[in-house]
């Protein structure tokens, strides 16, 4: 019995939980990290390639939700299939992840909470901008709103609790800090994070592929731009001549 338990703990690094007759939740028993994220999305791609029954797989910080079309597949079948696929993967293979430079204007009305937040953090607004735009961020997954990127990698000097009362209309493109996270609001929405800037970049367009430029596993950094540059990029986006790199 003891031996078998040990075998199991060595066999797969995640637990398998049947959430719904047609959905299986895999949760890794470790803290989210970049290494784990790469493992999760590599595994996801392989499952999508090899299991035709799957209708969609959704990524979380340390989890995958697998949904399928057919009726109730047996847990044993899924367990053995998942094991075979997991152990056939070469996790060291280089992946096709990209890096994106997001232009952000950290000035004026675009940065409504910057002054206040800087004071609370005992930093100057300039320092906050410097630290925020120096960072390298990982796109963990997209959730909350269409095109809302969950980013990992915020400098702990910028950690600050969310607002007690969310505001009703955070402007589209707002770049904000909440808790230990930073993010970009893809649409006007209610939100409790502190707004420090705005990007003219479109995060989500349901009418144009690839809908959202970024995907899980990509990296991203912010580049400070002036209001004039902001307007220029905005015009180029309207003309269709802007290309994000």
């Amino acid at each position: 019995m003891h031996k078998k338990d040990k075998m199991n703990s060595f066999s797969l690094p995640f637990s398998i939980f049947k959430l719904h007759p047609k959905a299986l939740l895999l949760e890794w028993n470790q803290k989210p990290s970049q290494k784990l994220l790469i493992e999760i999305i590599t595994f996801k791609a392989e499952l999508e390639n090899k299991l035709k029954e799957i209708s969609q797989i959704t990524v979380g910080y340390h989890s995958l939700l697998i949904e399928w079309n057919k009726k109730n597949l047996s847990k044993d079948f899924l367990f053995s299939t998942l094991s075979i696929i997991y152990f056939s993967i070469d996790f060291k293979k280089p992946n096709s992840n990209r890096h994106w430079k997001i232009p952000v204007c950290y000035e004026g009305e675009f940065a409504q909470d910057l002054e206040w937040l800087s004071q609370k953090l005992n930093l100057s607004p300039k320092q906050v901008i410097e630290i925020h735009s120096r960072g390298l961020y990982w796109v963990c997954f997209i959730g909350f709103l269409p095109g809302f990127l969950y980013l990992d990698g915020l400098d702990s000097k910028l950690f600050f609790p969310r607002k007690n009362r969310p505001i009703l209309k955070v402007p589209r493109g707002s770049v904000a800090i909440g808790g230990n996270q930073t993010g970009i609001y893809p649409e006007i929405s209610p939100g409790g994070w502190h707004i420090i800037g705005k990007t003219p970049v479109v995060l989500f367009n349901p009418n144009k592929k690839p809908y959202c430029f970024a995907k899980s596993g990509d990296t991203l950094s912010f580049k400070a731009i002036s209001i004039i540059e902001f307007k220029n990029i905005e015009n180029k986006i309207i003309e269709g001549s802007f290309k994000l790199t």
Partner: protein, 283 residues
């Protein structure tokens, strides 16, 4: 086409929903009561994913600008065609300039109106279900005009199913144990199984909050994927049941997961309605 003269309380175009776009953060959407939705289409021999009108709590007033056939399923909203009471759950022939009017929901909360061939609104990411930021129109308002298919044959061949009126009084919801269920002490597990809960006024297509709280401190979890029917518990002990328009990931503990039939049942509930969970283990 059909013209909306007034919109009712909350009316939107819905189908089965948007499948396969969760990794862009796009909710599934789709009809809240998938059972009534599917009956509405089957009564007209429509394709199973044809778009219908979903009406909540109070229905709209509609003018038809061409001949067609319709069917009405779900909650009873006392539908009237040109002022005369209309039967539900069967195909009805419609003439140009007919006026269809709905009242308040008397039993149940959501009514479905299917039209022969399905509503022909904008299809985005594989679905016509209306959702803010995805479809141009997020819900039906006064004077909205909805294109429908031209009636190309006169002989009508629908009405293939017979079913008894749905009973919306049922309030037992079958639920499976969620990933954090086992963190609960026995008394809370017992409470979830035996207490009756009231639906609060905070209920919409995204989720339903229950009035009664549970007293427990649960750890926040790492944001993870959720489904319609996931019963979440906030740090203050509030219980929130996610529905079709819910966001695709969540950071609250997941205590239970409703089965599909329970979601259909819940979709027909409204403020102050009583609910009870019947908790099952999934094997």
């Amino acid at each position: 086409m059909i013209e909306i003269i007034n919109s009712g309380f909350y009316t939107s175009v819905q189908d089965k929903g948007r499948i396969g776009f969760k990794n862009f953060g796009v909710p599934i959407s789709g009809a809240m009561d998938q059972q009534s939705f599917s009956w509405a289409n089957r009564l007209l021999n429509n394709l199973t994913n044809s778009a219908v009108l979903e009406m909540s709590f109070k229905g709209p007033k509609i003018c038809f600008h061409e001949d067609t056939f319709i069917a009405i399923t779900g909650a009873f909203m006392d539908p009237k065609l040109n002022g005369f009471s209309l039967e539900m759950n069967k195909p009805i022939g419609i003439k140009k300039m007919d006026i269809l009017q709905f009242g308040n929901a008397i039993s149940g909360s959501r009514t479905y109106l299917s039209v022969l061939g399905g509503l022909q609104t904008q299809k985005i990411l594989g679905s016509r279900s209306q959702f803010k930021g995805i479809t141009t129109i997020e819900r039906i308002s006064k004077r909205t005009v909805i294109p429908i298919k031209k009636l190309s044959f006169n002989l009508f061949k629908g009405a293939v199913i017979k079913h008894t009126m749905m009973n919306f009084d049922k309030n037992i919801l079958t639920a499976y144990e969620g990933p954090e269920f086992n963190l609960l002490p026995e008394n809370i597990k017992h409470q979830l199984s035996f207490q009756k809960f009231h639906l609060s006024h905070l209920n919409n297509r995204m989720g339903y909050q229950l009035k009664e709280k549970i007293t427990i401190k649960l750890p926040q979890i790492w944001t993870a994927p959720v489904l319609p029917g996931t019963v979440q518990c906030t740090p203050e002990g509030k219980l929130i049941i996610l529905m079709q328009d819910a966001q695709v990931t969540g950071g609250y503990s997941r205590l239970l997961q409703l089965d599909d039939e329970a979601i259909n049942c819940l979709a027909q509930k409204g403020t102050n309605d009583l609910l009870q969970f019947r908790i099952k283990k999934l094997t």
